[in-house]
């Protein structure tokens, strides 16, 4: 450490020759010239080290004592700087390098978003880019708090956001807003109606008045459990109708239903085939700025497929730097009409129909299923007919203002 400090101040090794070189040391000590590492070379010569700034005082002392002073060696920062002064280009380059290192370490290179599930990262990044946070932004000029607040205003699905700038990285932590659950208004009268046409297999009334029983056939929209509960007069009282009470009908209504779903696909389809002609062009993206390595951006092909491959510069830890090479391949294609593979089309459509059916019946089960396919007016039609056991009761609230049931 001491050696480093000496080097920073510049160390000069000199020899003093005279009749009494010891007097030179005494004089230096009295005048406050700090020296160290002295050694006698011969009875008339002493070698000594001192700081570069003390050299003029040492020269004056030697002159006064009629000693000869000779500088043997110079080392340390002042000497390096003196040498660099003669090499202007190198000095300028070094200064620029240091400046660049100091400034570039403040430039954001990576923006990472964490904590989002529903809101896509690209949406958050786009919003932050509008606020000024993007690869290439100068970190000291960014106001993280204001940016986070503005982004929260714009992105309503987010409840909280924090932006942490660490060197060249910006870590964005977000928490998504929890959706408010739909509240069921228990005071609003409602009926339970049939959601699909079928034969009822199970009717379980929890509240309200059942209008049907097991085995009955219902059409979609029929009221199955009514929310209107008439008050029966006492038996043999001779009283007329006493009115009723409106409730929110609840219950479980299961039925056997028959679902029929259809999907079509054109028999003839336009397909693309490459002609063999293709062209490639490259560009470099640095901090969001694109640098094209081609002059003519025009495309001579009538129809073409464009494939873009982006190769990003990645650090060993996996972090992507904002430098990427973009390779675009433009491949000329020609279109022609061809017949589809009917078996493949049928399988694809059947898969889609089964998925739609599963979404329709929810927790219900399919007890029988039949699939038929055929061509009709240039379309390949696939029809799925299924017999299901499912919950068909749907709660339908009464319109506002209605106070009594049918």
């Amino acid at each position: 450490m001491k050696s480093l400090l000496h080097k920073a101040r510049g160390v000069i090794t000199l020899t003093v020759t005279g009749v009494e070189p010891e007097r030179f040391l005494n004089r230096c000590a009295r005048q406050g010239v700090f020296f160290w590492g002295s050694e006698p070379v011969d009875p008339l010569t002493i070698r000594v080290k001192l700081h570069a700034r003390d050299l003029p005082a040492a020269r004056a002392a030697a002159e006064k004592l009629m000693c000869q002073l000779q500088v043997e060696r110079e080392e340390g920062a002042p000497l390096v700087l003196r040498r660099l002064r003669r090499r202007g280009g190198f000095l300028a380059g070094m200064t620029l390098s240091l400046l660049a290192a100091a400034l570039l370490s403040q430039v954001i290179l990576v923006v990472r978003v964490e904590g989002n599930v529903r809101v896509p990262t690209a949406v958050i990044l786009t919003q932050l880019r509008r606020q000024g946070l993007r690869p290439g932004a100068f970190a000291p000029l960014l106001d993280e708090g204001a940016m986070a607040q503005q982004a929260l205003v714009e992105l309503e699905e987010l409840a909280w956001m924090a932006i942490n700038l660490k060197g060249t990285r910006a870590n964005v932590l977000v928490r998504e807003r929890v959706e408010k659950p739909a509240l069921e208004n228990a005071a609003q009268p409602a009926d339970v109606v049939a959601g699909a046409t079928g034969i009822l297999t199970h009717v379980e009334t929890w509240q309200g008045r059942a209008l049907v029983r097991e085995g009955d056939t219902v059409v979609a929209g029929d009221v199955v459990i009514s929310g209107w509960m008439p008050i029966e007069p006492p038996e043999y009282s001779g009283l007329g109708e006493l009115g009723g009470r409106a409730v929110r009908a609840e219950g479980r209504v299961e039925g056997r239903t028959w679902r029929s779903l259809t999907a079509v696909l054109p028999v003839h389809s336009q397909v693309k085939s490459p002609t063999g002609r293709e062209t490639r062009r490259f560009s470099l993206c640095i901090l969001g700025k694109r640098l094209n390595f081609y002059r003519n951006s025009g495309i001579s092909f009538g129809e073409y497929d464009k494939m873009t491959q982006v190769r990003s510069l990645t650090l060993p830890g996996g972090a992507e730097l904002p430098v990427c090479l973009v390779e675009e391949t433009l491949r000329e294609v020609e279109r022609f009409s061809t017949q589809i593979d009917r078996a493949g089309a049928a399988a694809l459509l059947e898969q889609d129909l089964r998925r739609d059916l599963a979404a329709l019946i929810g927790d219900g089960e399919v007890t029988a299923c039949q699939v038929s396919a055929g061509e009709e007016r240039g379309l390949w039609r696939v029809c799925l007919q299924a017999q299901c056991l499912e919950e068909i009761g749907r709660t339908v609230e009464w319109p506002p203002g209605q106070t009594d049931g049918a």
Binding site: P21, E22, R23, L25, N26, C28, A29, R30, G32, F34, F35, W36, G37, S38, E39, P40, P43, I46
Partner: protein, 93 residues
């Protein structure tokens, strides 16, 4: 000069009589020998001769001769100096 020496002697005697450290009161040289490798001298009056086998250190009315092998005057300022090397003897001349 003689008057100055008389004054120093008086101060020395006074310090001894009052049981005070003479180096602090009278500026008498103070030598610290650490093992046989390091000698620290306070209140010196300068180097009188300098060689790698012997060094003469001025101490007012006294002169100290330090002799040994590979002697070096490591650092020195107006008050203190440090001699390193193989110190074999110190003699008051």
């Amino acid at each position: 000069m003689e008057e100055k020496r008389r004054g120093e002697r008086f101060l020395e005697r006074a310090a001894r009589g009052l049981d005070l450290p003479a180096d602090g009161v009278a500026g008498v040289p103070h030598l610290d020998l650490i093992g046989d490798q390091e000698l620290r001298v306070e209140n010196h009056r300068g180097i009188l001769s300098y060689g790698d086998t012997q060094i003469h250190v001025g101490g007012g009315r006294l002169v100290f001769r330090v002799w040994g092998r590979d002697l070096r005057l490591r650092v020195m300022n107006g008050q203190e100096l440090l001699i390193t090397g193989q110190i074999m003897g110190i003699e008051v001349v």
